[in-house]
């Protein structure tokens, strides 16, 4: 009865296709048609500019607290780009570029960030969940969605997003285990941006990689350069194909970096150095992708300038529309909506009571 090594055959791979300078590893280049490449670039660029605009709106007090995504666009956009419209996306809260790709309007995002639930605007032909703030909690929903699709003999796939910090939550581990046990068609996308507010990855886990956690649950796991949209796309394509064809779940760790603050309420200077941020700016996913597209002859300085002015105009129009729409919202009585399918009698009474309160307020207002 010897003490011997157990041979765990699963290996954890790392995938990068574009290097930091945007040079291509030709052997690994995924086949993506030109139109799709250009659409990905435009969305990535739009998402970056939109993030910058949201930050300035927040600083002007025109929206509330929000979590910027700059630097992480490739990690989530590259992944959703392989989904069919009828697949399910189950996001955390730092996947704005993916939401835009799936059809969420810019103005809905502004409206939501202004504290209006009306900003949760799921496009009618999409099956996406609203953002989920309780860290890691959404992971299990994707497992349920995937399993339900399998039960109905549909080949829909559920893709869920979460951060490095989320891998410490019980819900994450339960989700991974359930998905593997039930062989649910789920793709787990971890945006490892190295920080969970002020907690660096090294204090989050002693694991060498997050991808290796997949091994423990008996599913394929891969680590990709999350700032390389080609690598993210290729890995996600493989995972979605596997899930769709009955091969079960996959875990993908996208190694990326949060270039901005955690949310606009956070001050990253308290816990990380500018030098570290500068290092990661050199690996910015956007110029890397642009260099690749220029090399392919798909993009020139001229077309980039054109895209920029188009995108800025699109954002400006969205801000204008959102701010106009917000003026039409705000009937406080609406807060009683969507509590139950049918409003229980006691809640009906409370709504009436609130209506009387509003009338009193208006009366008092008139006196004053």
């Amino acid at each position: 009865m010897p003490r011997k090594k157990i041979n765990i055959s699963d290996k954890v791979e790392h995938l990068a296709i574009l290097n930091e300078k945007g040079d291509l590893d030709k052997k690994l280049e995924p086949e993506i048609v030109d139109d799709l490449l250009l659409k990905l670039h435009r969305t990535m660029f739009l998402a970056r500019k939109f993030d910058e605009r949201l930050l300035s709106l927040q600083r002007q007090g025109r929206i509330g607290t929000f979590p910027p995504i700059s630097g992480q666009e490739a990690a989530h956009l590259g992944a959703v780009a392989v989904l069919r419209p009828t697949d399910w996306m189950v996001p955390a809260f730092r996947e704005t570029a993916a939401e835009i790709w799936r059809g969420r309007s810019l103005e809905s995002i502004i409206i939501y960030n202004n504290g209006f639930n009306e900003g949760v605007d799921i496009p009618e032909d999409r099956y996406d969940f609203p953002i989920s703030v309780p860290v890691g909690s959404q992971v299990l929903h994707a497992v349920g969605l995937g399993w339900a699709a399998k039960y109905r003999q549909k080949d829909d796939v559920a893709m869920t997003f979460f951060g490095d910090g989320a891998t410490s939550e019980g819900d994450f581990h339960e989700g991974m285990n359930f998905a593997a046990v039930f062989q649910a068609p789920v793709v787990f996308i971890c945006q490892n941006n190295h920080w969970a507010i002020s907690i660096p990855l090294s204090k989050q886990t002693r694991s060498k990689t997050l991808a290796q956690k997949a091994v423990a649950y008996g599913m394929p796991g891969i680590q990709v350069d999350g700032n390389d949209i080609l690598a993210v796309f290729a890995a996600a394509q493989e995972a979605v194909d596997r899930a769709r064809s009955g091969g079960g779940p996959t875990f993908i760790e996208c190694v990326t970096y949060r270039l901005m603050m955690h949310t606009t309420a956070d001050d990253p200077k308290r816990y990380r150095t500018d030098k570290e941020v500068e290092r990661w700016k050199n690996r910015d996913p956007l110029p890397r992708f642009q260099k690749y597209l220029v090399g392919k002859g798909l993009l020139t300085e001229g077309t980039m300038a054109e895209i920029e002015s188009e995108v800025l105009q699109e954002i400006q129009e969205a801000v204008d529309r959102a701010e106009a729409q917000i003026k039409t919202l705000g009937n406080p009585l609406d807060m009683f909506e969507h509590a139950y399918a049918d409003m229980p009698p006691y809640l009906e009474e409370q709504k009436k009571e609130f209506e009387r309160e509003l009338a009193e307020i208006n009366k008092e207002g008139n006196h004053g």
């Binding site: 509330g64 639930n117 910090g165 969970a196 507010i197 204090k203 006691y346 809640l347 609130f354």
Partner: protein, 326 residues
Amino acid sequence: MAKMTMVQALNLALRQEMENDDSVVVLGEDVGVDGGVFRVTDGLINQFGDQRVLDTPLAESGIVGMSIGMAAYGLKPVCEIQFSGFAYQNFHQIENHAARLRWRSQGRYHVPMVLRTPYGGGVRALEHHSESREAFWAHIPGIKMVIPSGPRNARALLMSAIRDPDPVVFYEAKALYRAFREEVPEEEETMPIGEPQIVKEGKDLTIISYGAMMRPTLEAATELKEKNGVEAEVIDLLTISPLNEKILVESVKKTGRAIVIHEAPRSFGPGAEIVSRLMEKAFYYLEVPIERVTGYDIVIPLFSREKAYLPNAQRILRSARRTLAN
């Protein structure tokens, strides 16, 4: 005496108890290097080191479960759950273990821990950051549920909570963190847990309130006096559970009228228990039914409408005037 915000006063309580007793250990998400997202634990890691101020991985059940073990060993963990909206992840550790280890071990072990967590609306926060769910914790036998209403009593109650031999869930109103300053003595000050306070004496009406609702409550009481000549007796509950109804009952025996204020949803909220106790012990002294001014039985809306949801001085005043009119 220095004038302090509630954040500073809580920080003072933690610092002093850590200086007094090396069994006091602080743990939670971002409580160390960052000093807590609201800065309540600011500077503690510099003074006490990273073995007494633990930046934990992101897992609330982990934080509370580990605290229970630390407490059973004889330490006094003070854990921070970043927002009370994420304390449901550790709910079962409180319900199944913190609240019952004394009972389950036939008195052999006990759990002298404190779970500090910010609660409540009014600061334009994101979803899940504005709820007021004290009733969940207050409903658990074996748990003490404390909610201070200002810098001075926050400091004193937190010191008492740390010294308490039983587990205490300690809710801190975000809306009060930096709302105003109060004189807080540098020398140690504690306050008994389980004793509501009369903060304003009166003979015409009893107003029972706590936490962030104390400010609109006092505003309403002042206006009642100035505009209507009504003397309201205002009681700050401070401890939700174990609820000590003694001074509430005495007050109602004197005034014959009462209203109860909380921002938590009305149904099955703390007001329901308070009203029941008054019915049991002061029914024959009541002139009129007791009204509740509370949050509605809905999810607190995102911040653009939270003001409409939260009780304010005007709502309290209207309820008081209705109660007095009969």
